[in-house]
């Protein structure tokens, strides 16, 4: 027996973990861009795009006039007023786990508690430019630890399925957003596609997804936009590709269906529908219809799956 609220807590705990990680990855991209030689001519755009993709643009503008690294990283990492700041995500994740305390192992609780406490301590340290990549890296390390604790100690029951659904719904979302930022926001003008700057940005995107090396293993040779898009959307082995997340979502929904001995839920049907289209998809089709349109539609359909999950399992009434 799993309380609807506990299922919701587990689901959101991991969505917040994944979100915190995405923000740190975004900031890492911003930082790397700022180290490029032609940084000064484009940086405004890029920092703006990072705020946009973190969903924090409007909030930031209310507070600051200027786009600079110090303000932006402060706002995205530590600002209590920013709902999606890393510190608020870690806090929300930890409080969700605390609410579902009787559904997680001691190891899982200790690691969520510890991560939040560790991050709180960072906040007190004085800001230095060179600290940003160190911080971003330590956030990734913390979230890896949280995952390890879950994988190694939790029973693989319905609660585990909700934890995983949280990850992969959020991850599908964030990969799509990161990709969209690159294509739609960083390079609005057609003529620059394929130029030096374009290449550097694709490279940065791969790095931000910790996929630089993995891409090299999967595709020999040059980084072309087609290959990278195929990798991030359609590669079945890359843990941050869209299709990978979709498969995991589908798997976990099937598992719930089996455990509860029920008919396919609307979430189940929706995810199957999306997946079936993905199996037949070719990269050139995506480019033909426009990558941005493709990603926008993808995010809409993933959000529909998320709503169906909430409707089916978190309301408690069937």
């Amino acid at each position: 027996m799993l309380l609807s609220r506990s299922a919701e807590n587990l689901y959101w705990a991991n969505r917040y973990v994944e979100r915190a990680e995405t923000i740190s990855r975004l900031l890492d991209v911003g930082y790397r861009i700022s180290l490029l030689p032609n940084y000064s001519s484009t940086h405004k755009n890029e920092w703006e795009s990072i705020l946009l993709s973190a969903g924090s643009f409007d909030g930031y503008r209310l507070k600051y006039n200027e786009f600079n690294q110090k303000n932006i990283s402060d706002y995205l990492l530590f600002d209590n007023e920013n709902k999606s700041s890393v510190i608020n995500c870690m806090k929300a994740a930890r409080n969700n786990i605390r609410s579902a305390r009787t559904r997680v192992t001691n190891d899982v609780w200790l690691s969520f508690n510890q991560s939040y406490k560790t991050f709180q301590k960072y906040k007190k340290k004085a800001y230095k430019t060179e600290n940003l990549p160190v911080l971003c890296n330590s956030i990734k390390q913390e979230t890896n630890l949280l995952r390890g604790a879950i994988e190694n100690t939790q029973l693989e029951n319905d609660g585990f399925a909700f934890l995983n659904l949280g990850y992969f719904i959020e991850r599908a979302n964030s990969t799509a957003r990161l990709l969209d930022i690159k294509y739609f926001v960083l390079l609005p003008k057609k003529e620059t596609v394929g130029g030096e700057l374009d290449k550097t940005q694709w490279d940065l995107l791969l790095r931000a997804l910790s996929a630089h090396r993995a891409f090299g293993w999967a595709y020999d040779g040059e980084q072309t936009p087609e290959k990278i898009v195929h990798f991030l959307i359609l590669h079945p082995e890359f843990p941050r590709s869209l299709i990978y997340s979709l498969k995991k979502i589908s798997l976990n929904l099937e598992k719930l269906k089996l455990l509860y001995g029920e008919k396919s839920s609307s979430a189940n049907l929706k995810i199957r529908n999306i997946l079936s289209k993905f199996y037949d998809l070719e990269t050139n089709e995506i480019f033909k219809d426009g990558l941005h349109e493709f990603l926008t539609n993808f995010i809409i359909s993933i959000n529909e799956v998320s709503e169906s999950i909430e409707e089916t399992y978190f309301k408690g009434i069937k």
Binding site: M1, R5, A7, R98, R101, W109, L110, L256, K318
Partner: protein
């Protein structure tokens, strides 16, 4: 009483005037002596770190985002078996009498008709819950967990200072203090023979399970109802439900419908039978009590009345720990059980007693004045520690509303050496054992020793900076 020096639990002065370590503490004292200040400090920090890592915290309502650690002291409080046997009998006796009293006043009111307790004290009391009158309560048990606060003010004698009959907290600290001590100092546990307390969660579950409601035909399903993660005792709520393997629920997870209360699960709704609630009466049912409550379960009182659910503790149990009703507990024991009280009350006077009011006002600087409905160490005056101004304020208040106050002598609580900045200092303590009442009565073989961390202070409440110690009951 107040002129004598307080009892030290670890040391006594022998007939020759020499300081002597009391027998149960000899090994502890040797252990402490074997360490220097730096080592003691290190042990102290190790313990605090363990608590912090485990997230054993409590939050204060003034700043609900802040989670604080309860100061934990590594020097245990030790009670020998002979003394414990007396405590056990005495506490069980009180618990039985208090439950008999609650059953009586919500039904026939025999103790009032017999003229033993004044009618007004009960029926005019804000803690008297009219909604409870005539309800058939499972097992006739109203208060399932009673935490009686004991104080030692004479060498071989404990007194009962108050009985917490609503939802006494602190039992998780009793259990975790022991865990931390066992982790840090296993050698002490090998050299002492200490009665285990780990069976408490199982006994609590048995107690709750033994009181299934009338209409329950299945194995009863139990849930612990918490106000949520911002509540100061949330850690305890999650800890206990985890150990008992029962659901930890919030008001929104439940609803009353027809004859039963249901919880919302991922597989639809499920009936539940027994609720161990850790929210106050007032918030339990917005349809019956405070209509603005957002943490309660609308309709639960109707289900309760018709025998569809057991609520632990029953609404209205709080009248049994009213500070003026307390005065009558020894008489309850005689009236309901036909026995002499094993543990005595502290001498207490109602300021409403015309024969005592002059004595109280004249001697106020030696007395403790408590608000009848106050708790947590708030709303009280400790005469010997109060300023002239505070005394004048209380005198005025007592004259205006004598029925709101009681007076007690200032108690010289016993003390146990406690680590303060790496050195041992005497600090005052009390003791809260936890008594369970279901089909059987059970007392955990230990308790929570609360410590006033400030020098000379008599206030042990955690909300006011009090700390805790592990409490050892030695085998016979």
């Amino acid at each position: 009483m107040q002129n004598k020096k307080n009892i030290n639990e670890m040391f006594e002065i022998d007939t020759k005037g020499k300081i002597k370590t009391r027998l149960p503490y000899v090994k502890i004292n040797n252990w402490i002596k074997s360490m220097n200040v730096a080592e003691i400090k290190k042990k102290y920090f190790d313990a605090q770190n363990l608590f912090e890592k485990l997230g054993i915290t409590f939050s204060t309502y003034e700043n609900s985002d802040e989670e604080r650690l309860l100061p934990f002291d590594i020097i245990p409080r030790i009670i020998n078996y002979k003394e414990w046997q007396l405590i056990e009998k005495g506490i069980k006796q009180r618990s039985k009498a208090l439950n008999a009293f609650l059953n009586d006043i919500y039904n026939k009111g025999a103790i009032i008709k017999a003229g033993i307790i004044p009618e007004n004290l009960i029926y005019q009391n804000p803690a008297f819950e009219k909604e409870m009158v005539g309800i058939n309560v499972p097992g006739k048990i109203y208060s399932h967990i009673i935490g009686t606060d004991l104080v030692r003010i004479e060498k071989n004698k404990f007194y009962a200072l108050e009985d917490n009959c609503r939802t006494p907290s602190g039992v998780s600290y009793m259990l975790e203090n022991r865990e931390v001590m066992m982790k840090l100092f296993p050698n002490l546990f090998q050299s002492y023979k200490i009665l285990p307390i780990e069976d408490y969660p199982n006994m609590l579950k048995d107690t709750l399970q033994s009181l299934a409601p009338l209409k329950c035909e299945n194995e009863p399903v139990i849930a612990l109802l918490t106000p949520g993660i911002k509540n100061s005792a949330y850690y305890e709520h999650s800890f206990l439900s985890d150990l008992m393997g029962i659901e930890l629920v919030e008001g929104d997870d439940l609803f009353g419908k027809g004859d039963f209360v249901y919880i919302k699960t991922t597989e639809g709704t499920k009936k539940i039978d027994i609720i161990y609630r850790r929210i106050d009466d007032e918030y339990l049912d917005p349809l019956c009590f405070n209509p603005n409550s957002k943490i309660g379960i609308p309709g639960i009182m109707n289900v309760y009345r018709s025998g569809g659910i057991t609520i632990c503790s029953a609404p209205g149990s709080g009248i049994a720990d009213d500070k003026e009703v307390y005065i009558y507990v020894p008489k309850m024991i005689e009236f309901y059980l036909g026995e002499k009280p094993i543990i005595d009350n502290i001498e207490t006077w109602s300021c409403n007693n015309p024969k005592k009011i002059n004595y109280i006002l004249e001697n106020i600087k030696d007395l403790v004045i408590k608000e009848v409905h106050g708790s947590g160490g708030y709303g009280m005056l400790i005469g010997p520690k109060a300023t002239k101004k505070e005394i004048e304020i209380f005198k005025k208040r007592i004259k205006e509303n004598p029925q709101n106050y009681i007076a007690q002598p200032t108690l010289n609580l016993s003390s146990v050496p406690t680590v303060i900045n790496g050195k041992l200092k005497d600090r005052h303590v009390d003791l809260r054992p936890f008594c369970l009442s279901g089909k059987k009565t059970y007392l955990a073989k230990g308790g929570l020793t609360r410590v006033a961390m400030k020098e000379g202070s008599l206030i042990v409440n955690s909300s006011q900076g009090g700390g805790v110690k592990d409490t050892w009951v030695l085998t016979g």
